[in-house]
Symmetry: C2
Subunit: 397 residues, 2 copies
Amino acid sequence: MSGDLFIHNARLPDGRIGDVEISAGLISRIGPRLDPVQANVERVDAEQALLLPGFVDGHMHLDKSLYGLPWVPHRAGPAVSEKIEAEKEILKEFNISVEDQAARLIRLAISKGTTHIRTHVDIDTEKGLRHLEGVLAACETLKEAVSIQFVAFPQSGVMRDPGTAELLEEALRSGADLVGGVDPAGIDSDPKGQLDAIFGIAQRHGVGVDIHLHDPGELGLHQIGLIARYTQEHGLGGRVVVSHAFSLGTLEAPRIAPMGEMLAENGIAIMTTGFAHTPVPPVHGLLEAGVTVFAASDNIRDSWSPFGNADQLERAMMVAQRFNSRTDQGLEEAFSLVTHGGARALGLEHYGLNPGCGGDAVLVEGTCIPEAVVTRPPRKLVVKAGKVVARDGVCLV
Amino acid sequence: MSGDLFIHNARLPDGRIGDVEISAGLISRIGPRLDPVQANVERVDAEQALLLPGFVDGHMHLDKSLYGLPWVPHRAGPAVSEKIEAEKEILKEFNISVEDQAARLIRLAISKGTTHIRTHVDIDTEKGLRHLEGVLAACETLKEAVSIQFVAFPQSGVMRDPGTAELLEEALRSGADLVGGVDPAGIDSDPKGQLDAIFGIAQRHGVGVDIHLHDPGELGLHQIGLIARYTQEHGLGGRVVVSHAFSLGTLEAPRIAPMGEMLAENGIAIMTTGFAHTPVPPVHGLLEAGVTVFAASDNIRDSWSPFGNADQLERAMMVAQRFNSRTDQGLEEAFSLVTHGGARALGLEHYGLNPGCGGDAVLVEGTCIPEAVVTRPPRKLVVKAGKVVARDGVCLV
């Protein structure tokens, strides 16, 4: 399962050249010029490449991508409901293998340095648990190369598709780790109904909640308030994510800090893709208020979006550009969204590059994090739990 | 100088597999299964890669990049005037070779498929013509691999730096092709003064004008109106570019069409980088009104911006994302900004992939333009006037 590896001659987070020892899948030592202890441990010469923690992609749709297939022109209208309908049509028309496509995307993510994924798997009364089964099957063969959390995600709504709530519970019994939600007002036209359902399920199964909230402006803000209350009432602080939360992007400056404090107090994390075309959550202001914020891929080459390549360094760059973050501090903040921020949101323990942390790492050309965000160099090496899983941009598993 | 080349087995713009014949630097034939005429002509098997026209990067600063040097953290404040000051400080501190840095950037651009560049070269009373001389020297050794237009660009203003106007004229006598301008109000606090000066110079020397207009909102819009009047009065229609024009991004929908008509009637082209953090010109609305719009790199890894890689396919993708253009039509429109739009703005004759056009082309993996914009694949082959100048992402000159 987990391996031993000695990476020497790497540029460490403090800027010095040094070594990392991974033993039984965990980082045992890190520092300048370590003496390797076991002679038989695999050694890698980093050639002074920059050592980064494994990337966290905490919002991926692995079950519907067209990645790797012949080009499919985008046809969905702009509304979320139009995208849901177009998706059903396309998935039927192309009859894709969920398992094969999920495996393709996971391998792509690994090749880009992602070592932790949270994926949303569509559950509805038409698909049942078919997508979950496909994604779980794909992950079974790749689970040593990447850690994956599964969200039972009611893409078509909960209340407007009766029977979905029961399927979500079945999904949790069948391998899903969290329960999802989607625009309780915009899709279900019944915020109380959906939130009662999914928070009830979360509480009964002792799992977290991940809600995709596209609803704009005051409609979205109102629901964030509701979600905070439900989180508190159900004792789920620290285990709730609101993804997108475009409505936060419409906040005037004086409202950002109080909103951030409410989210921080209730332990609700915010995911953003940093979309360029629409208001997005004010990352810096939320971080300053103590909110866990992270950035992720979301849709990759599917009926929702033709874009995406699972490159979390590129995602960090896009978020930096979205907020005109040009200084090293700003670029490092953007990088934190695809690493430590994601790890906090996903509740990952032992994440990072310190002794005791999981033996995950990425090596890239470059001398510092800001440079890596800007240049997005090919990943020379990706290591998961002490095993080399990608080299020179090619997934080895 | 210019070469003969027979590219066979390429995916042509109409989707068919076929061949391109370049003779004496010009496309002589293009179509399915051509018979090569001359037996001694160099042949390239495109392996069904997609044939694209050479990319046009119509707004580059070749004379101040830190690309290829050890990482320099960004230090300039957000205001344009702060960036101008920080730049002077950094250029002095690092004492970069304008010639070497320009050559680095040009080679990078060639490796990404750019075959036509317009570059802005700083002219002020401190630098004199030093930057122009450096960039011209760099281009001398690379001129067979890329076409370059030089703008004598008064980065520090015209009126606030007396003597600059004379230097701009001297630059035009020394190899510059156009005269530039910069925020006539914001930098010079004298719109009439700067526009009188630069349009007068343009008229006397029979050259075009390229004005970088960052001034926001109504201040910017007012100056666009002034520029249109100067363009008409000086008979320079079709030879004037307003770069950035962020103020156009603040136009409410009903004002876009009339503004577009004014720009189109006066033959003024608009350049945008598609920045994600600030309002940018409404590309689609301007195109619909008949305006020439193009997208370009602007600053690359310099004191203005840590970002940039001279990849015009990536630029097209960024513009597409900026406007949420997900359909094939939208992605093709974005692509037009780095190809035919740029060519029109730069007044390039014989641009494109038809018989009689310059023998410039790019080959990439993929089956259609929208796919190429999304995936931004490495450039398999870059051809300039019938000569192979880059292969597999590596500049050969």
